[in-house]
Symmetry: C2
Subunit: 341 residues, 2 copies
Amino acid sequence: MLEKKVGKQTSRMQNPPSINAAASIVGPKEGKGPLADYFDQAVDDEFWGENSWEKAESKFMREVLAKVTAKASLAMDALDFVIAGDLLNQCIAASFGIRESNLPFFGIYGACSTIGEAMQLGAALIEGGFAFNVACLTSSHFCSAEKQFRFPLELGSQRPPTAQWTVTGSGGLILSLEGNGPYITRITTGKIVDMGIKDQNNMGAAMAPAAADTIYAHFEDTGLPPDYYDMVVTGDLGAVGKRILDDLLSSNGIRISRLLNDCGLMIYDMKQDVHSGGSGCGCAAVVFAGFLYDRLRKGKLNRILFVPTGALLSPTSVQQGESIPCIVHAVAIESSRGGNQ
Amino acid sequence: MLEKKVGKQTSRMQNPPSINAAASIVGPKEGKGPLADYFDQAVDDEFWGENSWEKAESKFMREVLAKVTAKASLAMDALDFVIAGDLLNQCIAASFGIRESNLPFFGIYGACSTIGEAMQLGAALIEGGFAFNVACLTSSHFCSAEKQFRFPLELGSQRPPTAQWTVTGSGGLILSLEGNGPYITRITTGKIVDMGIKDQNNMGAAMAPAAADTIYAHFEDTGLPPDYYDMVVTGDLGAVGKRILDDLLSSNGIRISRLLNDCGLMIYDMKQDVHSGGSGCGCAAVVFAGFLYDRLRKGKLNRILFVPTGALLSPTSVQQGESIPCIVHAVAIESSRGGNQ
């Protein structure tokens, strides 16, 4: 058995990488939400001075990379790798966003689980001796996502109550070999789970079984008690998906209702008319980089299981009558380097 | 300095992972090309019994995963990770192709460099102690790619001489901690290079500077003489891009014209009317998994630098007047575990 492997899907870091900085820039709606004070910046215009939403989304990522690198007190060329992805076709928010960075780049795609995938691969590159510092970035943009996945915004289409609202924003992290934490202590890599849900306006329901699968695997692999963490926080299940997840976990003996939270429910106020909550690659990324990172640094939270959730659909697969395959990655983050569990 | 790092972009494996199996399935046109005998299977119908090209592309990937795992004499659940990506929007060939595998999955996007990115991340996960066995897969499909990136096939649009032909096929590899090689000895991770080319029918010209950048970095980082390898083989530069690459390398003192080859030029015969050559994620993957792997196993080649080339454009970025950012990853593969260079 490899020393780091604990069970089929989980690895425990032997020298846990430190998250040395986090940065987030969000759009106008997110800047009026309950977490507004935690973001580095909220822009008041979805175009942010660009002439397309796609170019604006790239700008979010470019600016977050600059900001998070500066917050880590690093020169840009001290980064060994950038790992980034987004929801746009061929991941152009990332490609164009980091085009001028002149840094070794791994593009990834995990839909809204992307920040979790980036953290896992970044942590593995550092643990494996390939890097001192890795930047992990994702973004999403309400306007570019609606245009690509659903309907032209100009139609003003009505949305069902189960629909979610794509977060406009980008979140970035610097993972480093050395630092004062919080630390990535364990990673559980998700499998694709598809329970046959075909309604792209109910992605919470589609993703909840995948979230349950990964969280269950995490506790099964590690043998940790379900209340080990101060919070188990999913990416963007929203109100509908979070209820389903709670039910699925409970029926498998993991009773953590009071510890469960969801970035999609934290980022907006109920009054903001977002229906089931926030979604998008940016959702988990900005809530972590903004709020959760602050709570971990200040000791308000000491151990969290961060569980970004992704729905791997495309308009093409939906039009062809396919169901929605989902993937969920779990990353354990702790304020101390942790024990032997 | 980390022990594995040699220069800014390159890492040298301390315990080089072995490529224990390779498998390839191609379409009808590739099955009539000069490498036909090296592929495991050539199907005679682009739909392969499915009712859409996208579903057929997923089937290529699903069947290659099964085939390559069997060729490595592994049970499916002996794989620690699958790393896969493709060209379709939201990478659905990969997501749907490996949906039933029930394996931890990392989705990646590097356009036609994807197999190189997968090999780098797979090797890093094994070297880092996270995995015994990793499957690396990519695919492309002429019909799904033309439909998505260019014009409906039914239009029969004329193609300029610089255009390339997207390979239909999928290639897969099993990287393992233990095995008899060939071995991945060094990896050089590419940076995004964009020299302002905007013609999506001349991607060879767009990608050549990125290929030169990564190959130059590889020799600069490692200090190896330019003739160290028996072959330096790019992914899909085609005839136009290969000439530009040769010029760029020569003008930087790397004179390896006789060692340069390109998978896009190897997979088709000139008579097959593919203009500048093959392209697509599947191109480098099937040429490596079919032909190059066979040559390495049989000792006809002992050291190659495999250099998959990717153009990170999307129809949206082209329509918005953007140029084409490119990325190229280099993977050194040798029949022995290698010395200290």
